[in-house]
Symmetry: C3
Subunit: 146 residues, 3 copies
């Protein structure tokens, strides 16, 4: 059982460590630019780091959820590949956004494409399992059989 999800779990833990790294960067930025909580506004340099982490945090649950649904209902390998690409894209996003608002755009488009792929695969896997359950028809397996 665990063997069927251990790689997704590994990607998930990697994602958690990435999020922790982003949070630490916000704490350093708060010190560097003297922006004491509860304030969240300050020089644009600070606000970009703050927003980069906020944006990544906002999408993180969506990412983890689609990673697992894809891994369980579609394919663990496909989920892991997309997962690693997404985490790489988000690292680029964070670094790009920290440097300039424009720098966030290219990695944002990249990670959005990867996320949409994950959403599509998750939906496909779930629909296929539903077909299998209600119609006794495992379309994905049949397609792969050709």
């Amino acid at each position: 059982m665990l063997h069927q999800v251990v790689n997704i779990a590994a990607v998930t833990v990697l994602g958690v460590i990435e999020q922790a790294y982003f949070s630490l960067q916000v704490i350093y930025a708060r010190r560097k630019y003297s922006v004491s909580p509860p304030s969240t506004t300050g020089p644009p340099e600070f606000e970009r780091v703050f927003r980069a982490q906020a944006n990544c945090s906002e999408y993180f649950p969506i990412f983890v959820i689609t990673l697992w649904v894809t891994g369980v209902f579609f394919s663990q390998a496909a989920a892991c590949v997309c997962g690693l690409l997404y985490l790489y894209g988000r690292l680029m996003y964070f670094q790009g956004y920290s440097e300039s608002a424009h720098g966030r755009l290219a990695p944002l488009y990249f990670s959005a494409k990867v996320l949409w792929t994950l959403i599509g695969l998750a939906a496909l896997g779930v629909l296929n399992t539903m077909c299998d359950l209600h119609l006794g028809l495992d379309a994905l397996q049949q397609l792969c059989g050709f």
Copy 2:
């Protein structure tokens, strides 16, 4: 195994698509009202769309977690019905809040009620499984047996 959770997975994917839709609306609102990142303030029309998405994102993990705990420990059917009602309530919340701050209230109360129901059912399912485990007593099954 998968058949016992496939409907919850379907509601989850639907929820993810709803969140993606809310995010796209914020991106359109940023263009329409010329609010460039990292700024998050602007005309009230923009701020309402921005906050509507932020509020829905904040509650999304809580929703998905209680959906799955209810679906696994209480009943998949009950979880799915509440899940669909919640997602409908959040769509209404987003549209209401986009139009006026007051417009968010009725759907907020509705989705809060559904979420509390999910939390209650999740707690009930978990407590029942704990009783079963420690006391050998499956109260829910006994109640349903009457």
Copy 3:
């Protein structure tokens, strides 16, 4: 199967209830200090409550994810103990931050330490399962056998 995760599920539901409590506190603070949505700024008393809930919400998915990965891949008991400590730390954080910005620091360090412990145990459990899968070597079990 369910018996192996029911205690983690219980801690998760407790965490959800804590988050719901934090949200209610923000609603009360909005009334008390007359900060109507979509605004998120106001007197420091309000902003501290608002940010305390925002910060806890931001970390909540990370907490739940590492709780489950630790509980499934390492040990349910260890996950539950860390989980309860984390939730206690976050309650202290929320109350401390509500009173003063400085009041958030001690519980923040405490809950960060607990979270890093959970991340470490999750990584250890996943690595061990991978070793077991690829090398046929269950290091944790061997260590415990001594």
